[in-house]
């Protein structure tokens, strides 16, 4: 305690403004979503294994199946991007390398999410191809 600066004035701007737990909560919420989606996704993977092009397109012509797959991809990439961010932050010490990898991580997740969503919607609206 020095001079006329109050404890509140000293603390302002230095700590959490209730946003610090965003990463933690996002990781958990997406984990619960993936916990619920995984049985469907695993079953669908086994169901579609070995099927030909027409059968797989037909399966994702259903709005329910297409929506669930989009949810799996988006929740999964969001969750994976958060997890990979922690791994990069934990192990990569050089600031430039770390920053470039964090940007690459965000770009890869966003790109894959976009490609998958557009493709699945295309399959759904395009019918059996």
């Amino acid at each position: 305690m020095t001079g006329l600066v109050t404890p509140l004035r000293r603390a302002r701007g230095l700590g959490s403004a209730k946003h610090g737990v965003g990463h933690f909560i996002g990781q958990r919420v997406s984990a619960v979503a993936l916990l619920l989606l995984s049985p469907w996704a695993l079953w669908t993977g086994a169901h579609l294994a070995g099927r030909d092009y027409g059968a797989v397109r037909g399966w994702f012509g259903s709005p329910v199946n297409a929506s669930l797959l989009i949810l799996v991809v988006l929740a999964g990439l969001y969750h994976g991007q958060l997890g990979m961010r922690v791994i990069i932050e934990d192990y990569i010490e050089r600031p430039l390398t770390r920053t470039l990898l964090l940007i690459a991580n965000a770009f890869v997740a966003a790109l894959a999410a976009t490609i998958a969503t557009v493709s699945i919607l295309g399959v759904m609206f395009g019918g059996a191809g």
């Binding site: 984990a31 619960v32 294994a49 999964g76 990439l77 493709s119």
Partner: protein, 135 residues
């Protein structure tokens, strides 16, 4: 260990991998990260698969063929194994988040359970695919 005093100014070192007794909760923690990275890669493979499905029969045939190749099959097998482990071990994390399951004996037992679930579940998936003639 004679030189540690010089490099740390006499302070004790934190546990080091050379003196760190192997234990299953540590293995589960490392496997969780490894599996998570593998699953991230798996989602990129899934996105590519969706793209090939939209592009047409030729692209899809080539993509599905690559996944059915020996290397592709091993990758898919590891994805299922890592998926089931990350799922079960993630459940441990969620229980820890509400303050449950921290007792060493409980944590050890649930770590082994997660590993067993992943192995048995993967065997189950392979057996189901074999039974349906898909492998």
């Amino acid at each position: 260990m004679a030189q540690t005093g010089q490099s740390t100014g006499g302070r004790p070192l934190s546990p080091h991998w050379q003196v760190w007794r192997w234990h299953v909760t540590m293995a589960a923690s490392i496997l969780h990260r490894l599996a998570g990275m593998g699953l991230y890669l798996g989602l990129l493979i899934l996105a590519g698969w969706a793209l090939s499905l939209e592009l047409g029969p030729d692209a899809f045939g080539a993509y599905a063929g690559a996944l059915a190749s020996p290397v592709g099959s091993v990758i898919l097998f590891l994805i299922v194994l890592g998926w089931l482990f990350h799922l079960a071990n993630g459940l441990r994390h969620l229980f820890w988040d509400i303050g449950k399951g921290f007792r060493p004996r409980t944590a050890d037992a649930t770590a082994w359970l997660a590993i067993a679930f992943a192995i048995l579940g993967t065997v189950g998936v392979v057996a189901a695919l074999l039974a349906k003639g898909k492998l």
